[in-house]
Point group: C2
Chain length 340, copies 2
DNA sequence: TTGAAAGCGCTAACAA
DNA sequence: TTGTTAGCGCTTTCAA
């Protein structure tokens, strides 16, 4: 059977095409009886409007663009797949579809925006991995393209926009508090160099909690580049101190796994001799028993979509964008912070 | 500046709209001089045809649908993200875009097909995770919707279609051969119950290699459900044998990680005392040093797109679908198969 | 080889 | 409250 069109539905319901369209888009304009009749035909025929035609007419595609990140070390970033899944899954319940694209860096990604906007009339974008000096947000804002970021605008130069993020400080605060609770006093922090703002946010949670407990030791505040091997090397130095830390809070699971490697290499027992907490709750953490702060990806996706709807429904770009939304990570405790 | 349309390009080049369209779609019909002139204007104005209009007219969207899998245990399936990335990245170079959707099981996924086909005129689908009694392939084939699967049609009832898969047997064959080479004689296989055809494929590679080496011990052929804990339990039994295996080949990394857990729990040294090989080369394997057979995701994505083009360009459904393509996995050797 | 006319399926503006 | 007209940007006839 041929796919029904508006025309066919209209004929069947003995109304004009326009009335059918109104039933779908502006039901309040249609007399209830007419509406009921038309709706019955729509249901009977299983009619669904063709999006290409709607898009052509309205310039609204009901499509949002999202980048799929290139696979890197496979530790921290993998959880972005959860975000993408949650986003897709929730979006499709609202009649939105997620169009994927791949890009290596900001310039490249902006090029994709241009194409997607011109070719497919995308309605909006969801960005991940915001960073200092992000060229993408500036580009989008300048052209008044609706977008929401998962990740806050780091750095002063960033344009104002709607964003959702996870409160990194809250995660490390929870981790550090737990470590204090189970008796640790010498708690180190393995963070990124200071050019990564997200890292500082996480560091602050640790520093504040330690300070509040009257603990301070500069030597336990360590900055290393991302990567397991850097985490391992830094841990070696820390454990060589005369008074080594008994616990380490890490800015990512990658670094935490490096800590793990060095601790076990020395014959020390993770959890009992040295406690470790990571960040991101990667699958690997779950497997080996690494405690970690989990980002609530499902909530993050939901919040992004909510903000996006607010942005899209606004008659004109609001002077102050909706949001932001800051979500609390959840500390997942495993063997790496168990004393027995 | 307003977005240029065909109309504008035509006016600027002093030709009809149709000629511009021909330059783009049937250049051979246009006189070279005219073509050059039109092309210059197209380049100058940065003109790109609007896809919604093209789709409306031609019923071709240049869109392919792909499911994003729900995150499960985060060990084996994560590598599908690599496939999705490769697919997206290669597709966009060819002017195709990947539209994402989420679905829990076959019925649900078929519902998505219907919607995507009706609403967005998708040109084709790429399926992953084919299984015995796959309702999806039958549905698509019946409606003559173009599709390619990453994963072969398991089971006799499956419809014929184009597919790409990784040769599981080749992976376990390579693994087993390597273990024999480094001196192992008692090599066990941890596989799935027999209802999972992909598992049998991988088992065969191990069995054949052992048989060729004149080795056979039924007790070393073990079938357990997927999951780390099952792998652990099965390993416990194997290691309790009077003559326990010195090496284990596993159908997935999840099971291999279970083996790892049990081996270390007993104070045995992975690699030195017991060798372990997994399958899928998950990020976790890389981190802990588990040898594993890696699926060439980039090649798989490329092959899927190639087959898809063949299917799409065929004037009518071919009696014998193009393909199949069987790719060799690559054995990645790490500490878990090193003797020192 | 190029141009003119028609129409894909839908919605916005207007008229009845 | 409903119907009519026009047209979104493109490609497919068909005629010149």
């Amino acid at each position: 059977m041929a796919r029904p069109t508006l025309e066919i539905v209209a004929a069947r319901a003995a109304v004009s095409r326009q009335t059918v369209s109104n039933v779908l888009n502006s039901p309040h304009l249609v007399r209830p009886e007419t509406r009921t009749r038309v709706e019955a035909v729509i249901a009977e025929l299983g009619y669904r409007p063709n999006r290409a035609a709607q898009t052509l007419k309205t310039r609204r595609s009901q499509l949002v663009g999202a980048r799929i990140e290139p696979p890197r070390d496979g530790i921290n970033r993998v959880v972005l797949t959860h975000f993408l899944h949650a986003l897709t899954s929730r979006a499709q319940l609202q009649g939105l579809r997620v169009m994927l694209f791949a890009a290596d860096e900001d310039r490249d990604e902006i090029g994709q925006y241009e194409q997607l906007l011109e070719d497919h009339d995308l309605d909006a974008f969801v960005l991940t991995d915001t960073h200092v000096g992000d060229a993408r947000t500036a580009w989008l804002a300048e052209r008044q393209v609706p977008f929401v970021t998962f990740g806050r605008p780091w750095g002063a130069l960033s344009a104002y926009h709607s964003w959702v993020d996870v409160d990194g400080g809250a995660g490390t605060r929870a981790a550090t508090t737990h470590l204090l609770d189970i008796g640790h006093r010498r708690i180190a922090f393995l963070g990124w160099p200071s050019d990564a703002a997200a890292g500082d946010d996480r560091r602050d949670g640790w520093a504040q909690t330690c300070a509040a407990a009257g603990i301070h030791d500069e030597r336990l505040d360590v900055r290393v580049p991302e990567g397991l091997e850097h985490g391992r090397a830094a841990t070696a130095k820390l454990l060589d101190l005369a008074d080594p830390p008994t616990a380490l809070v890490c800015v990512t699971d990658s670094l935490a796994l490096g800590v793990w490697a060095e601790v076990t290499r020395r014959g020390l027992r993770v959890g009992r001799d040295v406690a470790i907490v990571g960040f991101d709750d990667s699958p690997t953490a779950a497997v080996i028993g690494l405690s970690s702060a989990a980002q609530p990806m499902d909530q993050a996706a939901a919040a992004c979509l909510e903000l996006m709807h607010t942005v899209l429904d606004a008659p004109q770009p609001a002077p102050t964008p909706p949001g932001p939304v800051l979500l609390a990570p959840q500390l997942v405790l495993r063997a790496s912070t168990a004393r027995d």
